[in-house]
């Protein structure tokens, strides 16, 4: 883990409201694992004041890590305006990433919207496995092109809420179909996306007794386990009341979380 001024190599729009940014940091790359995140100070001023957490979405060459982000508020807006050659302070890599399954096992990656970010990095690291990548979006124009990610050969399906492309409906429909279809092999499920989607993924996998890891989001101040601001409620399986997402997560076994009161 380091805190350093990090150079922006590129920062460009790749889909409606969605940007892909490359930052040069051999130090961060040396440690980064899929599911881990960085805290970026999006502007040198005091407003917005807090760093913003972003998953590491991939690696390019041996010195650039990628962040895929959607503009939703003033922090991400400021970020989208940063140009090549500028530097931003980055703290990371932080948190615990995904536990990779043994080779040869089938993995289903389920993303909702920008939740695809950590799963792209995960898919890159599991390139020799049998992967099914299901990504849901609200609409066609939000689809993140992943040509750059080197994921060719991976089975990919897309759904959109408005049916502008792929299956019309939530991506969890496809997950359910797939799980119900392939009864002989128990896959591993990895998921990231909006809370209602994650909840549904957690329910589905629980129902079919399939191991499932989810990456969750909370507001964070420090990212280091110091402020205790990033609490999520644990399920009764766990003998403490809250996890701290930045330290105990952001990736959790879906059964360890209390989905009703997250």
């Amino acid at each position: 883990m380091t805190e350093q001024k990090t150079e922006i190599i590129f920062n460009s729009q790749v889909a409606s409201g969605t940007f892909l940014m490359g930052m040069r940091s051999p130090e961060i790359i040396a440690e980064a694992a899929p599911g881990q995140f960085v805290m970026i100070r999006v502007s040198p001023g005091l407003d917005p004041i807090l760093r913003r957490p972003f998953s590491i979405c991939g690696i390019q060459r041996d010195d650039i890590f990628l962040v895929l982000y959607r503009v939703i508020g003033k922090g991400t807006l400021a970020l989208s305006r940063v140009t090549q050659g500028e530097t931003l302070s980055v703290l990371g890599p932080l948190g615990r990433g995904f536990n990779l399954p043994e080779k040869g096992r089938k993995a289903i990656l389920v993303s909702g919207g920008i939740g695809i970010a950590p799963l792209i990095f995960l898919a890159q690291k599991m390139h020799d496995m049998d992967i099914l990548f299901l990504s849901g979006y609200r609409s066609k124009k939000e689809i993140v092109p992943v040509g750059w990610a080197g994921l060719s050969g991976i089975k990919t399906f897309i759904s959109t809420d408005d049916g502008t492309i792929g299956h019309k409906g939530p991506i969890t429909d496809l997950l359910e179909t797939d799980i119900s279809g392939s009864s002989h092999e128990i896959p591993f499920v990895f998921s990231c996306g909006p809370l209602p989607m994650l909840k549904r993924v957690a329910e589905t996998t629980l129902e079919h007794q399939i191991p499932c890891q989810v990456s969750v989001e909370t507001h964070m101040a420090c990212g280091l386990g110091a402020c205790q601001g990033c609490a999520v409620r644990t399920s009764s399986q766990v003998n403490r009341t809250y996890f701290h997402v930045c330290q105990d997560g952001p990736v959790f076994d879906s059964r360890s979380l209390d989905w009703k009161n997250l």
Partner: protein
């Protein structure tokens, strides 16, 4: 050390700090969280996360929300409790070559006493900081620290049960902070620190819910600095015991405002989130400032607020 280096040492009553920069309670964990980033021994001291007698899980989330130039937190004083602290955190803290101050709070005056007693005789703890900003359940939920006589009782109890310097941390949510400062001074406090967070609230206009599950929380960060500087200024002029200042310090210039106002040391809180190295950077910049201005020791800056206008 170079002979021409300015002397950054400060005295807080019975306590000597290698420099006036402390990290504020609740914003620096138990120190170890930051140890991968820089050498903690450079700090003047570390005030660890508020400790209660029993472990506390804290408030339901969301616990933090960003505000203009600040943040609200309602952590609910989540902490591991006295026993685990002694078992799991203190041994590591003892290996540090910096001043460790333990911040405590109780749900009752007795609990404050029990905490002080539980920390008695222990090595590696240089002082106790008493957080009196938490709600006093016995007396209608207003914070202990909003009432001078209750503040004095808490102080007295801690001082009686402790063998360490006692710093009482004042709440800014009061009509007259000087009255509280005077009361705890009289009750035996060795120093006061201020300010703790201002109480605040934010509402999500789409869901129409408070943004914090706890409804309200504590406002910190540069937004509150002018309030903090003013209260420090007031308290310095009211009590004889040393004052530790803080609230919204982001850089050495901000730290200097407090020192000039008369604080003998400063606490860095929210800045640790924005820049985890804020503490050391401030120390280095203070040193450079002294060199540039030809100031030999930082003590020469403390309380030098000047009132003549030209």
């Amino acid at each position: 050390m170079n002979e021409n280096q300015p002397d950054l040492k400060v005295r807080i009553g019975p306590l000597e700090l290698k420099n006036p920069v402390l990290t504020a309670s609740g914003t620096f964990g138990y120190g170890r969280e930051f140890s991968g980033l820089f050498d903690l021994n450079l700090l003047g001291g570390i005030v660890v996360k508020g400790l209660s007698l029993k472990p506390m899980a804290g408030n339901p989330p969301p616990r933090i929300v960003e505000t203009p130039c600040g943040m609200l937190n309602a952590i609910g004083l989540a902490n591991i409790g006295l026993d685990l602290f002694l078992e799991e955190k203190l041994p590591w803290l003892k290996t540090l070559d910096t001043t460790v101050i333990v911040n405590i709070y109780g749900h009752s005056i007795d609990e404050y006493g029990a905490l002080a007693a539980g920390l008695k005789g222990l090595d590696g703890i240089a002082a106790i900081e008493v957080n009196i900003s938490c709600p006093n359940v016995e007396q209608g939920g207003m914070a202990f620290g909003t009432n001078p006589s209750v503040s004095a009782q808490v102080t007295e109890t801690v001082v009686k049960n402790s063998d360490k310097p006692v710093i009482v941390k004042l709440s800014p949510n009061v009509t007259d902070v000087r009255a509280i400062a005077l009361a705890v001074e009289k009750a035996g406090a060795h120093a006061v620190s201020l300010i703790n967070t201002l109480t605040g609230m934010a509402i999500d206009i789409d869901s129409r819910k408070p943004k914090l599950a706890n409804i309200f929380g504590g406002l910190s960060g540069p937004a509150i600095r002018p309030v903090a500087v003013y209260m420090v200024y007031q308290v310095v002029r009211s009590v004889k015991i040393p004052v530790i200042g803080g609230g919204g310090i982001m850089d050495y210039r901000d730290a200097l405002e407090f020192l000039i106002a008369g604080a003998r040391a400063v606490q860095i809180g929210t800045a640790n989130f924005v820049n985890p190295e804020a503490g050391v950077e401030i120390i280095n910049d203070l040193k450079e400032f002294c060199i540039e201005k030809g100031i030999e020791k930082i003590e020469d800056i403390i309380g030098t607020l000047c009132f003549t206008r030209d």
